[in-house]
Subunit: 293 residues, 4 copies
């Protein structure tokens, strides 16, 4: 059963993510740029943040009758970026992202991503699964996705990362998803993929430090457990949050059931975060995100 992804027969669209400090005239300039070149705005979402004085914008327009080539669009955007001092990112719906999933032994998050992909729910292609174990090879195989086993030697992580980087480069990957990948990536690796690695981890109210957090949650009698998907930064599990969700638990749930509920949350939250990223709905600003829903 091979994966097909979504149809690409619809006319292409351009999605622009922008953040800047002084927005005076920006919206007018961008709207005018789209309009005068024959584009139609499909979605626009703008937010001025009182606390920081920052301005954020997501703009999506159709390219069916757009008069400019992509090179011309790019040049025009560079000029606007200088004029308004913008941080910006421009993507096209017909240039699909290529995604690699890193996994270890736990299959649930990997399955959810592969299934979402197969159902055409992700605007990107799952190019590659990389794992430090061989266990999940049949899972990738079932969905027709290439699987690479890259063992990680605790004494030479650099070798494994070099192999991973080579595979990612060969496959043209631009997003790495850690689907319960139980190895810590080096700061160097992380630095080469800024806002391009998504991780998932459990979250609790209150937070539990140390090992066996679900056992701690059980002993503490929490009524809610959660999961958080975030971009990976050099600070462990402290990167910009993309999505969070929780579910209720009670004393009737033993640790195994807490783990099961946690796993269900993890896969749902991770897949949602990946979908938001691939739809270019996530704008990173400092150590946080705006998600344009």
């Amino acid at each position: 059963m091979t994966s097909t992804g979504t149809s690409v027969s619809m006319p292409a669209t351009a999605t622009l993510l922008v953040s800047c400090r002084d927005r005076t005239g920006l919206v007018a300039a961008l709207s005018e740029f789209v309009f005068k070149n024959g584009g139609n705005i499909l979605d626009a979402d703008q937010h001025a943040e009182v606390e920081t004085g920052l301005f954020f914008m997501r703009l999506r327009w159709d390219l069916g009758a757009f008069k400019l080539s992509r090179a011309e669009i790019d040049a025009a955007m560079r000029a606007l970026a200088v004029r308004f001092d913008l941080a910006w990112e421009l993507t096209y719906s017909d240039v699909r992202s290529r995604v690699a999933v890193f996994a270890s032994k736990a299959p649930h998050c990997l399955y959810d991503l592969l299934l979402a992909h197969q159902l055409g729910e992700l605007r990107g292609d799952l190019a590659l699964v990389i794992s430090n174990h061989e266990l999940l090879q049949p899972v990738a195989g079932h969905f027709g996705v290439r699987f690479e086993h890259v063992p990680v030697d605790a004494h030479d992580k650099a070798a494994a990362e070099a192999t991973q980087e080579r595979l990612l480069a060969e496959a043209g990957v631009d997003l790495v998803v850690l689907a319960r990948y139980m190895q810590i990536l080096s700061p160097g690796f992380v630095a080469r993929w800024p806002s391009r690695i998504i991780n998932i981890h459990h979250s609790f109210l209150p937070a539990f430090v140390g090992a066996k957090p679900y056992h701690q949650a059980k002993a503490r009698g929490v009524k809610v457990i959660g999961a958080t998907a975030h971009y990976v930064t050099s600070e462990l599990d402290q990167g910009p949050i993309i999505e969070q969700d929780v579910c209720r638990v009670s004393h009737r749930d033993d640790v195994d059931e807490l783990l099961r509920k946690g796993g269900e949350l993890e896969r749902r939250v991770l897949t949602h975060a990946v979908r938001m990223h691939l739809e270019r709905r996530v704008l990173v600003s400092g150590n946080r995100t705006m998600v344009f829903g």
Copy 2:
């Protein structure tokens, strides 16, 4: 304890709600209008609907340094409305809505609205409580809100409605909230307040027709109950939905507990809907709404 509402010391803002069929150039024209007259866009939210070809927009800009008077803004908007065939509504943050609450005997929704108002969470003034019973007079009195007892004679509803209309006119009311008001308003009354009357009612999966819906829900063993806030139209409980929410129930909940949970939902959903309306986040199109969150 008198109510104070929110501070109005912040610079005024204008909020524009727009819907139209052909949007080509509209965003550019509106952005240019705001920009060239010295306004700054604070929030903009645009949505093109594939299914209908309609375009919806909410635009909010600050008026601190705006060069046009309100009469001039109004004239400019009229011109744009003709040019783009717009349905539109323009409001100013310093012109506060005046709200009347209609209630009968159940106090929970009325309390929630009065409390939200007192906490400064509603961008409008509760001008008046009208009830067909005297029971809730002390509730309004406690919050310093005028209370009018307008009995409804089943054989002469028109007399009661005439009194209500007079009271609303005298108090300059522009939004009526039915907070568990147990009388059905006449088609004429409803027609005079289009998208200006908000009602709350219970909702179930599946729906239960007829009397005592909570008893039916109990007998049917539903696992979820809900509440819906909507604008009142001539078709009973079928107007445009503003907000819905649900809560879980189980066989342990007897009918009284279902009613309690339903009441908690009702007050939360109704107050939320009123808040959204007063913040001009609700755009009505046909028999539905967009709520710009």
Copy 3:
């Protein structure tokens, strides 16, 4: 990748579901029965319903040191059932249910069940997938579950059902799960599987009658969509509800996105309902269920 299910190395437990009218002395008699024969109560959940005068109970005890054989337990229960006029069902944790999944072309619910099964989250064995199409054969195959293609001829449904019944009998199935199976089972089939067929369908507030409910929901601007899992009875989609859940939607969700969110709800709600059934947490009384969470 073959499925393994949960480990069965833990000592067996017995689970008793009981409903009756007059409970006087029942709990004492059942507790005494477990105690004097060397059992330990692990969970007990009792509920007396004021509205109906009915009494419901779920009792689970360990059999590690229990002095009675299963034949003796059965005989004792029969005597108690006569004495207290009980409706009852007794199951053992080491006698695993055998489940058949009926599917058509949509894979999402089938995947979710197969994955939950493989992760050891279902207390039963997926013995068989039956489909009126061949499309999902590789899905069952990947999880090592037998797949039978049983085409349904619109002019001779009885033939298909006869084949299905034979397959179910051969495989020793005691629960049928309709995972978006797009054929209506005959009243005869349904009658032979009372409280033994679980179905999933979408639910809306308000309900939408007729075709294309998601299109209707879009046109109506609902803010919440839901899904309901229930036992199948002769009355279409009106059987006892096992589980319901909802998710929020907005005007930003087009019909495709509503369908995607609905599908996510469907698989979650259906798998949850199946898990509850297999853990013997669901007690049917009339046209509703108690779910002992």
Copy 4:
């Protein structure tokens, strides 16, 4: 408008909360005790915890035809407690708890409790509001609840606590609810009210240490905020959790809106926790609770 609370005309019931280590025969003994003395079990909820070997039980039976006096019930329970080494608590539905609410200046939690009480949703009487400020006196007055202003001198907290303790004793209070009371109670005060003081505080994923947590949450871009109600122990905000809930937030919510949503959560979660406590659904074991829903 005076508060009336719930009707007490229904026959009284007894509610027993029990925890113990070895439960062998306990359920049989308790069921037999209720049965042979003419009682009917209305609800029973038992849970054996694998992780700790502990057993927990909530048992509620009607006293309409019960043959024993309360002194006799008490004596019988003492004997059972010795025999089975029980931690236990027995309460009667017609002996209503008396509740004191401590508040400062924020009215939202106090209003919610007073309203729930007036609607008859709390199985206890609000005897007294104590505040270190005079601001909320009219709120208590409106609901006909006594208000005592007890200023707290930062240099002599002991004097204030002595006054508070005297007022609580005079009013026969057995539960103290801290409804955003902005003073820290001394360890001595807390020790005299074990599992008898309920507090509410905000909760975040991740947790934020230090001042202005909502500002930190805004800067960190969290997608969910929460609130936790717990019993107060000598360790600040670390006592047994009774209830938690969360709500979604986004970049569109400024700090004021986060505070508003947080306040709405706080009042809902606190009132729910108080209701659970007053219905004797909360069993404390070590530093956690079981809540029998």
